[in-house]
């Protein structure tokens, strides 16, 4: 069973000619089939955790370990991590002009699966996955994320999640900027992947709203660059009612944003 293990992870970022520590000792284990929600106020370091796991060059790991099935993730390049089974659905997916969605998906699937998918079955696979996400067929001919609406970008991320079948999926604020309909469609996509039982899901969110559609097994409260409290789904209810204020004293992070949507 695939397991992502994060131990005492410390991460810094360069900003304004100064080195700032964002993650201050994160411990977390995500197993295949489990869904973990990480919740926290703005600026608590949730997204830094997501991008550090994917290997974004902006972030420097200064301490701790991350392993996937015992393999050292931190030693891997960004593309190696993806091929090893890590997937990051990004909060702000990047426009790639000149590269069509269909070309991108096939290149990506070829890289992750280790061989080019057979054309006939592949076309069918993509078409069906797009239909499930209410994506028009013309979508495949558009350039990656270019001119996409917020909802289209997120559906495109979940489309990739469904096609690439990772071992561990990190969803970074996939719910942000979505209306209720889009949130439902995207959540259904995530749930289809979860129901295979073959993926561990790390759901990073500011709001409890998405947890009505995607039921987590574990909820972790993130504040000041580390997990400050862990519990079951009931912890989300507590956050819904009380907000993050209770955790503000711990670190002085920005807790002004509301939790519920």
């Amino acid at each position: 069973m695939a397991t992502l293990e994060i131990r005492d992870l410390h991460v810094t970022v360069e900003a304004d000619n100064a080195t700032k520590e964002i993650l201050k000792g994160v411990d977390l284990t995500v197993k295949q089939g489990e869904t973990h929600a990480i919740m926290g106020p703005n600026g608590s370091g949730k997204s830094t955790l997501a991008y550090s796991l994917a290997g974004h060059p902006k972030y420097t790991v200064t301490g701790g370990t991350v392993t996937l099935d015992g393999e050292d993730v931190l030693e891997m390049s960004v593309d190696e991590r993806a091929r090893a089974g890590l997937f990051l659905a990004m909060q702000y997916p990047v426009e790639v002009p000149g590269v069509s969605v269909s070309n991108f998906l096939r290149t990506s699937a070829t890289a992750v699966r280790g061989e080019a998918p057979k054309l006939r079955t592949w076309v069918k696979e993509v078409k069906e996955a797009m239909e499930r996400l209410n994506m028009d067929a013309s979508f495949a001919e558009r350039n990656v994320n270019e001119g996409f609406s917020g909802g289209e970008k997120k559906r495109h991320e979940i489309l990739q999640l469904e096609l690439l079948r990772p071992k561990v999926a990190i969803l970074d604020e996939t719910d942000s900027g979505l209306d209720v309909d889009a949130l439902r469609i995207v959540s259904e996509g995530v749930n289809r992947v979860r129901e295979t039982g073959e993926v561990g899901t790390l759901l990073i969110t500011h709001y409890t709203r998405i947890l009505r559609y995607i039921k987590p097994d574990f909820v972790h409260v993130f504040s000041g660059g580390r997990i400050v409290e862990s519990g079951g789904a009931e912890l989300a209810d507590k956050l819904e009612n009380e907000g993050y204020e209770a955790y503000a004293k711990l670190d002085g992070a920005d807790t002004k944003g509301g939790v519920s949507a």
């Binding site: 994917a54 290997g55 974004h56 060059p57 390049s77 960004v78 593309d79 991590r81 993806a82 091929r83 990051l88 990004m90 997916p93 990047v94 426009e95 790639v96 002009p97 000149g98 590269v99 069509s100 070309n103 991108f104 290149t107 990506s108 890289a111 992750v112 350039n143 990656v144 990739q160 690439l164």
Partner: protein, 405 residues
């Protein structure tokens, strides 16, 4: 992508992304009583090199060009050497291929030199090549002109003339090492159709400066495809004027500028007659330290050119740090009675975020770059319409990417 589209003046407009370091995009649409396109040149067109002062580099038409790398083409110090450049013409039956003296009446009809180097070329060439496709002759095979540099200095003049309703494809290949200045005239009779593909596939040290003059007849169709990969300095000046209404010109360009290379394409379309069309699309990729691409797109719609329909576009893709793009579209309109007129210039960067996004989907870095560059050029390559050239270009783009990325 920074985009300047139909705006009076636009500097670098970083909409949705930051512009690359060292790029300028300046756009201008002027409705002027006096032509700024013409007055921006430091001397009026002339066949005599003596009519042009030696440029010092601050003139509008020379300000982007590193004069010290012209190897003397601009100041009279580059003296032609015997076997500088070998030219061979391979033409299907029915085509007349000649070498003529400079007093031949067919030379220079499509336009006079507009700068000192073009005038130097006109004043210094010995024999001119003339390729004639007689009227109503429709060729099924291309005419191939190979220009191979043997390391010397050379001045050239080439004329390609199509009679009324003739149709031809001409492929001009530039290879080897040379210091070459030339003028090329394309004269299209009424209803003629000419596609010219000029490929600059020079060795690293070559210097190539050329003015292309097209005179497009009534209802004729001219398509120019300029492809620049090689050379130390390449500066091309494709120009179009119309001889009658109903004519169309398409000017396509593709360049891949590597470290240290200076590749400059200066276009002019002069809508001097009514009811003509023009469409200009140039795309370039740059990579490496001191790679420098310059694109100047001048379109002039004269007062008498009612019913004009024109669009010009330049796109650049900067792949690495250290490269520089200067892109300047100018559209000058002297009549409002037109079908359409527009321009766009954009310089985008293949940046770390795009690279991260593609790599985060398992795609290795070099493959990610190839994906982006192939996609960037694909649409343009498909418009060339000459199959073996399309394949060759795609293969060449792959080589460029493999060699230096």
């Amino acid at each position: 992508m920074a985009e300047a589209q139909n705006s009076p003046t636009s500097g670098i407009a970083p909409a949705g992304g930051r512009p690359p370091v060292g790029s300028t995009t300046a756009g201008q649409i002027a409705v002027a009583a006096e032509s700024t396109v013409a007055t921006r040149m430091s001397a009026p067109p002339s066949f005599d090199v003596a009519d042009f002062p030696v440029p010092h580099g601050r003139e509008e038409e020379w300000r982007f060009t590193p004069l010290e790398r012209l190897r003397g083409l601009h100041d009279g110090t580059a003296v032609a050497t015997g076997e500088g450049v070998k030219v061979a013409v391979e033409a299907p039956e029915g085509v007349l291929v000649e070498l003529v003296d400079r007093d031949d009446a067919r030379l220079g009809r499509a336009g006079a030199p507009v700068d000192r180097v073009a005038a130097q070329a006109y004043s210094a060439f010995e024999k001119a090549g003339v390729v004639t496709v007689p009227k109503e002759t429709v060729l099924t095979e291309p005419i191939r002109i190979t220009v191979h540099g043997e390391g010397g200095v050379s001045y050239g003049h080439q004329v390609v003339e199509l009679g009324a309703f003739a149709e031809a494809v001409v492929v001009i290949d530039h290879t080897g090492d040379a210091v070459l200045a030339a003028n090329v005239d394309y004269v299209l009779g009424d209803g003629a159709k000419l596609t010219v593909v000029s490929v600059q596939d020079w060795d690293d040290k070559a210097v190539h400066v050329a003015q292309h003059n097209a005179l497009v007849g009534r209802d004729a169709t001219f398509k120019s495809v300029v492809v620049t990969f090689g050379g130390d300095l390449v500066r091309l000046h494709p120009r179009v004027t119309y001889a009658g209404p109903g004519a169309e010109a398409e000017l396509f360009g593709l360049y891949f500028t590597d470290a240290g290379q200076h590749q400059e394409h200066r276009l002019l379309v002069d809508h001097n007659v009514p009811h003509c069309k023009s469409n200009v699309v140039y795309k370039g990729a740059l990579q490496g330290e001191a790679a420098h691409a310059v694109w100047i797109g001048d379109v002039l719609i004269e007062a008498k050119a009612e019913g004009t329909d024109t669009y010009e576009m330049n796109r650049n893709l900067v792949l690495t740090d250290g490269a520089r793009v200067d892109s300047v579209p100018n559209l000058e309109i002297e009549t409002g009675e037109i079908v359409g007129a527009g321009h766009a210039s954009a310089t985008g960067r293949f940046d770390d975020e795009q690279l991260f996004y593609l790599m985060a989907r398992g795609i290795p870095a070099d493959e990610a770059r190839r994906l982006v560059v192939r996609g960037f050029f694909a649409e343009l390559v498909q418009q060339i319409g000459v199959d073996d050239i399309e394949e060759r270009l795609l293969a060449r783009i792959e080589t460029e990417l493999k060699a230096t990325v």
